[in-house]
């Protein structure tokens, strides 16, 4: 932890869809430079928590603070806030009507007000870093899943976000595509990017993250360093979950 003041602080976050309580009081802090891996079985609320952070879902209770300010009531602009919290989706969500390069420039021009030339320079820089610069003129329909996800990461990075949220970024990929995306993410982690990664990739959580959060049935069951969670889990649920993964 480079900065003791949390960038994101989640207090007693709750979210229900109708009568179904998906999140039942989440408390979590993320400091600058941290890489938090959120693990847990399907339906445990991991993705919902992540989606609440940039208000793709509206929380039904609790607070999310961004540098100490409540994102629902105290921040100046929802749009500016979202621009500073990048998101990478399971299904990539590249804009299908635009080329790879335009995918990375349009948000910069429209949301950050950068000039087209500046946006292209920045976009090309990040596309190069994820190895997708040769495909700058391709359309999303023309590239593979792993390539789409790398473009999606470049698009998020081009906005120069303070925090990057990853929602199961490799779950929709064929096994041989997973590595290329994880490599990019590992590189980002090493460069000090603050990241919250919802993932089923236990190797990534163990080797790359600075903290692992295990969620179960809408609450944080246990959290700690990768060594603590994977080496010496305290809760029975965590041990069962990890055992299921090892057996697979």
């Amino acid at each position: 932890m480079t900065d003791m003041k949390p960038v994101i602080e989640i207090r007693n976050l709750q979210k229900s869809f109708g009568k179904v309580d998906v999140l039942k009081g989440i408390d979590m802090q993320v400091a600058a430079g941290e890489v938090v891996a959120v693990i847990g079985s399907s339906g445990s609320g991991k993705s919902t928590m992540l989606r609440c952070i940039n208000l793709l879902e509206t929380p039904t209770g609790g607070q999310i603070l961004w540098h100490g300010k409540n994102i629902q009531t105290e921040i100046d602009s929802l749009y500016k806030y979202r621009a500073s919290v990048g998101m990478v989706f399971q299904q990539f969500n590249l804009y299908n009507n635009l080329t790879v390069l335009q995918n990375c420039t349009l948000p910069q021009v429209k949301v950050l007000g950068r000039s087209k030339a500046e946006a292209e320079k920045i976009a090309k820089d990040y596309l190069d870093r994820v190895g997708m610069l040769p495909y700058q003129n391709a359309r999303p329909a023309q590239i593979s899943g792993g390539q789409k996800q790398r473009v999606a990461i470049a698009r998020a990075l081009a906005m120069n976000p303070e925090v990057l949220l990853f929602d199961e970024p490799t779950s929709a990929l064929d096994p041989e595509m997973v590595g290329e995306v994880l490599n990019v993410m590992q590189q980002l982690a090493q460069e000090g990017m603050t990241m919250i990664v919802v993932t089923h990739e236990m190797a990534f959580a163990r080797d790359v993250s600075s903290r692992v959060v295990y969620m179960n049935q809408g609450v944080i069951c246990e959290q700690g360093t990768p060594a603590e969670i994977f080496g010496n889990p305290q809760k029975q649920e965590t041990r069962d979950f990890l055992a299921r993964f090892r057996n697979n």
């Binding site: 804009y95 429209k110 698009r155």
Partner: protein
Amino acid sequence: MIEFLNDVIEIVTKHYPFLLRGIGYTMLIALAGTLAGLLIGLATGVVRTCPLSKNGFVRLLQKILNGIIAVYVEVFRGTPMMVQAMVIYWGYAFATGGSTLPLIPSGIIIVSINTGAYMAEIVRGGIISIDKGQFEGAAAVGMTHWQTMLHIVLPQVLRNILPSVANEFVINIKDTSVLNVIGVTELYYFAGIIKRESFQTFQTYLVVCVIYFVLTFTVTRVLRLIEKKLQGADSYVICGSQSDPSAEIRVPKQQEVPND
């Protein structure tokens, strides 16, 4: 038989200035009406899909606007355009104490409003069919509803609804004929004049019938070409596949222009 053909040829050669003017106005009203109707449809689509504001006053305005749109769609889809033409044209005359709108603009306005009601539903269907991920991908980088619609969603909607828009255009070419009830000088109106001059009802309307078909058939073919052109992007060589990540190396298109 020879006599019949001579009648037909005479109608065409003698009255072609009328026929050409009729074709011109019919196409002008149909084209302008379809485009304006499409714009109305797109605008209502943006308004209707806009999430309700947190601000109470704005939210009230949104609800009123959505209500107006719903009434508009139902009323103009649920009544014949011929009747709408009479009501709007003579309604204006009634309201202004006798002055009437110029005829061609009246025709365009009537067709636009009528088409707009159908387009509103076509666009709504088009927006619903766009993957939720496109909206979320735009929201997550901080785009507003308007930016998302303008730059991401509507371009994709337009491509998807083009066949329906073409359909509306063809319908409008034919349906402008009802505007003769208010005296708009489109093709069907001139057919009436030619009939009264030549006393050959069947021959006259047969000629007009063929002209309508040629117009609609040409338009459908042209729009089909445009559609194909817009879909071209998908049929390019796929560079790299899910199962073979190294496939990209073998795609010549990428190697020609690697970095601009």
